[in-house]
């Protein structure tokens, strides 16, 4: 999983650099979230603006990150999702579970 990490205003921002999240790289994404949360970084923003395609294992990785961040009373925010990705959240009703913002600025400006 090609991704880079930034720390902004107390949030760990995970910039996903892949256009595609599938069973080949979703385990890597899940690992990134797990690693952050183990280190006590449970406020996570995932920047998905490059992602054009996500499969069931990719949704699973996001759900895993969400669950683990919640368990540590953190936040798990998705930003910059393209319409195709949002459609997948809607179909699986994950849009009711994830906190979703248009972009990083909105995500950072949001109140818990």
């Amino acid at each position: 999983m090609n991704a880079n990490l930034e720390k902004i205003n107390g949030y760990s921002v995970v910039n996903v650099l892949e256009e595609r999240i599938d069973a080949h790289n979703s385990a890597g994404l899940k690992e990134i979230f797990l690693h952050l949360i183990e280190q006590g970084e449970a406020d996570i923003i995932v920047q998905l603006d490059r992602v054009r395609f996500i499969d069931s294992s990719g949704l699973g990785a996001l759900l895993s990150g969400h669950k683990n961040a919640m368990a540590k009373s953190g936040r798990f925010i998705l930003a910059g999702c393209k319409q195709q990705v949002v459609s997948m959240f809607e179909l699986t009703r994950l849009n009711r579970i994830f906190e979703i913002y248009v972009d990083l600025t909105e995500a950072l400006g949001s109140q818990n």
Binding site: R20, D22, A23, H24, D55, S56, Q84, L91, T92, L94
Partner: protein
Amino acid sequence: MCDPIIQVEVIIPTQTKYLNLIGSIGEQIAKDLEDYSGDREALSYHLNLVLTEATANAIKHANYNDPKDTVRITIHIDDQELNIKVYDHGQGFDLEKVDIPDFDHPKEGGMGIFFIRTFMDSVTYTRINDGNVLEIIKYLK
């Protein structure tokens, strides 16, 4: 008018790195379909997804850790329908027993077959000589 228009066969090792190749072929084929009355952009995504999920299942669930094992995927398109077959060499499973995911208690796995059923018109899983075949049909008319 049922002459095939496009026929594709791909044989890959049971490695997830090839999912992108399989998915991309589906995406591109959708863009080339003439006379498709539905939303072509959506069909592109759906074919990409369905091929990715079906092939990932054949890699994950039907592979006895044999590095020489392969997955064979065929895509046939004619005027009437788009037909996808994914062949595996595993122990098989009962497709009818795969339930709709419980969206009120979301789990990390178990959404692949649901996506295939949602976006396509017919899904069957059949035992054949040396393995199994998942057959997926989408009607184009």
